[in-house]
């Protein structure tokens, strides 16, 4: 815990430094309204990363989140085209349900067939994109085909911040409660921390991993509608490759790829770090290639951090192995 807390402080410091450096060149960047804009722009990444965090904590990975997002987004857009008067509440429910269902497919394959998660989600990632193509024959759904209330929802302003940003806040709070205060959250940490021990304490490892995939899928579905509505366009390739940003946000935020360690706050900061990098660098006229290099370096530094904290654990295991002689 102490490790994680110090890491979160460091990450928070890094984000502040970044903002400061940018502010010296371009003071407007740190103006409240711009920071809100940056937060809102990062919201999809935050929502997806929080779902991904739950999955990674159980020693799995979900590479299908971006494809899930695109498929759910497309279905929402098609529903909107077919029934433009359907209230947004229904669309949101549908998005959550479809996303959860797609996540459940991943979860079932991991739980019941014992297929490695990276293989399962690599497969479903391609399948989900393929289904979009089958549904649309590659055609786009553009802004003029969508109803104004459909596209307007995530952008509508509440207390100075677009709804999209508020949804990220809401998801963060819900995930904070789920991870810290529910038996499911505790099981997720236990399964990733020590699956053998978890079994003995009566936790069903496969079922817990399934639940994590459903959470991740549900949040990906939700983001699917928000994404399509915000950009007012839906096509096969939206958010292509975005799953890697999502995993990166988790890793930078201190979620251990080995499972069992990571926090909601850390993940949130990891996503924000990437969001600030992405938004700040163009402003101060640094090439987007630098942006890639900086995110890459951040990932490696974060993983090095994880490896450091994991090392002492390795020593303890060796010692006990020696004792067992």
């Amino acid at each position: 815990m102490t490790h994680l807390k110090s890491r979160e402080t460091i990450l928070f410091g890094a984000i502040l430094c970044l903002l400061l450096v940018v502010a010296t060149r371009f003071p407007g960047f740190v103006a409240p309204e711009n920071l809100i804009a940056v937060f809102t722009d990062t919201s999809p990444l935050i929502i997806l990363a929080l779902g991904q965090m739950a999955v990674i904590l159980t020693r799995c990975i979900d590479l299908s989140v971006a494809a899930n997002l695109a498929l759910t987004g497309m279905v929402c857009a098609m529903i909107n085209v077919a029934a433009p008067d359907l209230p947004v509440g229904v669309i949101l429910t549908v998005a959550l349900a479809i996303g959860a269902m797609l996540g459940a497919i991943n979860g079932i394959l991991v739980w019941k067939l014992n297929i490695p998660p990276i293989v399962v989600t690599l497969g479903t990632m391609t399948i989900f994109r393929g289904i979009i193509f089958l549904l649309t024959e590659g055609k786009w759904i553009n802004a003029h085909e969508m109803s104004p209330q459909f596209t307007g929802f995530p952008r509508s302003d509440v207390l100075g911040m677009p709804v999209l940003g508020w949804i990220a806040v809401l998801v963060s709070v819900v995930m904070l409660v789920v991870m810290a205060r529910t038996t499911l959250g505790r099981s997720i940490y236990a399964v990733g921390g020590n699956p053998h021990a978890a079994v003995y304490t009566g936790i069903d490892v496969g079922k817990t991993q399934f639940a994590a995939f459903v959470i991740s899928g549900m949040l990906a579905g939700l983001t699917g509608y928000l994404w399509v509505a915000r950009y007012s366009v839906a096509y096969v390739d939206i958010a292509g490759g975005f799953e890697l940003d999502v995993v990166a946000a988790c890793v930078i935020g201190g979620v251990s790829i080995a499972g069992g360690a990571g926090t909601v706050v850390g993940t949130l900061l990891g996503a924000l770090f990437l969001g600030v990098v992405k938004n700040a660098l163009p402003v101060v006229d640094i090439s987007p290639f630098w942006q890639l290099a900086i995110s890459g370096a951040a990932i490696i530094i974060a993983v090095a951090f994880n490896a450091q904290s994991g090392r002492s654990k390795g020593r303890v295991i060796l010692k006990s192995a020696e004792h067992a002689q």
Binding site: Y200, G202, V316
Partner: protein
């Protein structure tokens, strides 16, 4: 130390190839080897005999350069040698076939045999042709018709074992160590292995044969050496010794009253197991357990004790059998069912199966009891903390805060966390699998004391242990298992080290209904 049969090797002209002289090896808190001696002779098989924990594996690791002795001398052909690394031991011609053979599934037989010392051609690349030819030659010499070019994963267990032996012989071996080589083999495969051992003897190799099985030892060994609790007890020629004498040497300590077994009121029947069977691991297990009773399960490693316990708590499914708690039939399909029924299991490998080191103490303690401190899936932190505090205090756990990660605690304290975790579920029956394995004497006494206290408080305890003093000192009754079956149930005056070992290794003695 009682040297009942320390007649050293007779013929002085017949000098040992390899000798261990007064070797000592200490691990933190445990003296694994205490001045042991061992002599291996060319063309002869020496059996190393001892209970679990007698120091046999430590000797193997010392001989093969994995451990460095703290004191004493290894002598090769009468000259002192050191094996700072496994490679040095291999270079000196000492090679071991381990209990669990370490081979590579995706490599070919030849690659497995020569990994690490493959023959090179003049460009410094691996000479595949020579490697295959040499491998075939070795395999032929041990009568194993295995294609050197096929991948290891396509071979059965017995053939893999032969590959492991070929690998041991691929370095110019003079001393071959076989650590329980027959443990995973079927009867015909064992016969083949005996033939192979005879071939190696004929080639003049000195063989160290580690086994629990007496029939095997008498069949194949020329000499024996007995260790007990890391000490040398005796050695001699096999044809001058009786089984009973070896058993005596293995266990022949005066069973000291180290064990603070307190008187516990033995009450009504709590647990009754009838006809518990599993397709491959154990068969027809029947017993009852009363309130306040400690029931010992003794047997050799691999007798199926842990496997049975894991089935009892729902990790694996039995093929048939019934469990009753207080007379009511309980269906246990998962560990959660077992916890609900009041049966908890503290596994042997506490590092791997016990604590979750990345989690704080209080979360570890409450993990199996979360249903008690939560409503509708939401945890009530105050109740959770109270529960954790209650049980950690009962175990006198010392930590700065219950929020400390378990990984930061000492081994003994981690163990307390694991036990607190199980007590917090308020079980009726607690199963302790090798509760004191690998911990020092002081901690052992604490665990035993605690076990007594649990029984005195009315908990029923099942203790799986391979340590005879512990079994004898703590148990009210003992069930001995061998090869997946209950061999005998002993109590009172029937309990003696000799009877336990006899039943566990399967020696039939007249006047004793085995």
């Amino acid at each position: 130390m009682t040297n009942q049969a320390s007649e050293q090797s007779g013929d002085p002209a017949f000098a040992p190839v390899l000798s261990l002289d007064n070797i000592t090896k200490t691990f933190p808190g445990v003296k694994a080897l205490d001045g042991v001696e061992l002599h291996l002779y060319a063309g002869e098989v020496t059996a190393l005999i001892g209970e679990n924990g007698a120091g046999k594996s430590t000797v193997v690791k010392t001989l093969t350069g994995i451990y460095q002795p703290d004191g004493g001398q290894i002598m090769l052909d009468g000259k002192p040698v050191h094996f700072p690394t496994p490679q040095d031991a291999a270079d000196a011609g000492v090679t071991a076939i381990h209990q669990e053979t370490v081979l590579f599934d995706e490599l070919t037989v030849a690659e497995n045999v020569y990994i690490g010392h493959a023959p090179k051609n003049r460009f410094g690349l691996i000479d595949t042709k020579a490697m295959h030819a040499k491998t075939t030659e070795i395999l032929n010499s041990i009568g194993a018709p295995i294609d050197a070019g096929i991948k290891l994963k396509d071979l059965g267990i017995a053939s893999r074992h032969l590959v492991a032996i070929a690998r041991a012989l691929s370095v110019e071996a003079r001393v071959v160590i076989m650590d329980e080589p027959t443990a995973a083999l079927s009867q015909t495969e064992i016969e083949e292995l005996y033939e192979l051992v005879n071939k190696l003897k004929a080639q003049g190799k000195a063989i160290l044969f580690i086994s629990h099985k007496f029939d095997e030892i008498f069949r194949i060994a020329d000499r024996y050496t007995v260790f007990r609790d890391g000490q040398f007890v005796g050695a001699g020629k096999i044809n001058g010794v009786k089984e009973a004498e070896l058993v005596q040497m293995m266990v022949g300590r005066a069973v000291e009253q180290l064990f603070p077994k307190r008187h516990a009121e033995i009450g009504d029947e709590v647990l009754k197991v009838v006809g518990y069977s599993h397709p491959t691991e154990f068969e027809d297990i029947n017993f009852t357990l009363r309130r306040g009773e400690i029931l010992g399960f003794y047997g050799l490693v691999g007798a199926g004790r842990s496997e049975f316990m894991q089935s009892l708590i729902g990790i694996t499914r039995p093929s048939k059998g019934v469990v009753r708690i207080d007379g009511t039939v309980k269906v246990i399909r998962s560990p959660a069912d077992a916890i609900q029924a009041g049966i908890v299991y503290v596994p042997e490998d506490r590092g791997k199966q016990g604590a979750i080191v990345d989690m704080p103490i209080f979360q570890n303690v409450t993990l199996p009891s979360l249903h008690k401190t939560s409503r509708d899936g939401f945890i009530r932190l105050a109740e959770e903390f109270a529960l954790a505090r209650e049980y950690t205090e009962r175990l006198d756990l010392r930590a700065a805060s219950l929020d400390t990660n378990v990984g930061a605690l000492s081994g003994g304290n981690q163990q307390k966390v694991v036990i607190a975790k199980w007590l917090a579920t308020q079980p009726r029956v607690i199963i302790l699998d090798e509760p004191t394995k690998g911990i020092d004497i002081g901690s052992k006494a604490a665990v035993h004391d605690f076990m007594s206290e649990l029984a005195a408080q009315g908990l029923s305890v099942i203790m799986v242990s391979s340590e005879i003093p512990e079994i004898l000192g703590m148990s009210d009754r003992v069930i001995v298992m061998r090869e997946g079956r209950m061999v005998v149930e002993l109590q009172g005056d029937d309990l003696s080290p000799e009877t336990l070992v006899r039943h566990a290794v399967g020696i039939q003695t007249e006047g004793d209904a085995a």
